[in-house]
């Protein structure tokens, strides 16, 4: 026996491609399939051209994790700038955050924006069930606290918003969520424009 049995080589290739597929998860389905098609063609062409065993050809490609990371880095930011999913936006911002201070600041501002927005929405949803624990609490005409309290506050602290709290809190929370989403998307598209501009400036 000089060469590996086709079965084993085929299995190695299949395992590599399956690994690559699962590591490419954040990339859109269409783009992922195209990448896999191209890498598959590369593997079979390489084996045919060089006569190397499948294992050697796969080793020269690097690990599926490394290869996928190369694709993810640019695709993540590009796709997220059109997305409204908080997870996707935060993940893309976090990726930029590892590369500079401005990214780190945007990531934390985004996180705070989402938390504030979500808190207002949750408070609005809690109000019908715990009306006396939820709302805008006032002490001697100063705002004492806004939101949900674990106990019903004692006098002279009292709640002033009543059931108006629901629409107002929903509106404020939604506005915070929408604003945060738009701000991150703006930052992400600016960030890829900046990269572009930097390249152009260096060249001209």
């Amino acid at each position: 026996m000089t060469a590996q049995t086709p079965q084993t080589a085929q299995q190695q290739i299949d395992i590599f491609l399956a690994d690559l597929r699962s590591n490419l998860a954040p990339i859109t389905l269409a783009e992922r399939e195209e990448i896999l098609r191209e890498i598959t063609a590369h593997i079979y062409d390489s084996i045919e051209l060089t006569g190397l065993p499948a294992a050697a050809v796969l080793a020269k490609l690097g690990s599926p994790q490394q290869l996928a990371a190369g694709y993810r880095d640019s695709a993540l930011v590009r796709e997220a700038s059109y997305s409204i999913s908080p997870m996707r936006l935060l993940r893309a911002t976090l990726r930029i955050a590892t590369k500079g201070l401005s990214g780190a600041i945007v990531f934390f501002v985004a996180l705070v924006g989402y938390i504030i927005g979500a808190s207002f929405v949750i408070a609005a949803l809690v109000k019908p069930f715990f009306p006396q624990n939820t709302g805008v609490f006032v002490l001697h005409s100063y705002i004492y606290s806004i939101g949900v309290r674990s106990t019903i506050p004692a006098q002279p602290i009292h709640e002033v918003a009543g059931f108006w709290f629901i629409p107002i809190s929903l509106a404020v929370g939604s506005a915070a969520l929408v604003f945060t989403t738009l701000a991150i998307r703006r930052f992400l598209s600016l960030s890829s424009n900046w990269q572009q501009k930097l390249i152009n400036q260096t060249l001209s």
């Binding site: 063609a41 079979y44 020269k60 490394q66």
Partner: protein, 129 residues
């Protein structure tokens, strides 16, 4: 000769800085390989291997091609081949061609300047030998 020039890259000790340098140049090299016409991934790798020592792992070139395409510097098309599977051919767009021209000019300016700058660094070692 006992004295070894330290400026020479040590093939058994891949330097981190050198790796970064190669990675940065790889984008321009990938564009340059398409100057004369369309090629598919493996052909680009072979071309770069024959012309330079740029390719680190073969896998690094594919994400770069993908990004250059997303930036509209390249286009791609699937072409049926005798091999039984289609191959993804890349070619330069007009923007890509223009960008590559600018890159090449900048590269020459940059390396000419740097070569002059590091000339004194290299000289004493040569005198020692």
């Amino acid at each position: 000769m006992a004295l070894k020039r330290s400026s020479e890259p040590q093939p058994d000790q891949p330097d981190r800085w050198e790796a970064q340098l190669r990675k940065g140049a790889l984008e321009m090299a990938a564009l340059a390989s398409l100057w004369h016409g369309r090629l598919y991934g493996l052909e680009i790798i072979r071309f770069l291997e024959s012309q330079s020592r740029l390719v680190l792992a073969e896998g690094t070139i594919y994400p770069i091609l993908n990004r250059l395409k997303a930036e509209a510097l390249l286009t791609s098309e699937w072409v049926e081949a005798d091999a039984g599977h289609p191959r993804k051919y890349y070619s330069l767009t007009d923007t890509g061609r223009e960008r590559l021209r600018l890159m090449a000019t900048a590269w020459v300016d940059f390396s000419t300047g740097l070569t002059q700058l590091i000339e004194p660094v290299l000289q004493p070692q040569e005198l020692l030998q």
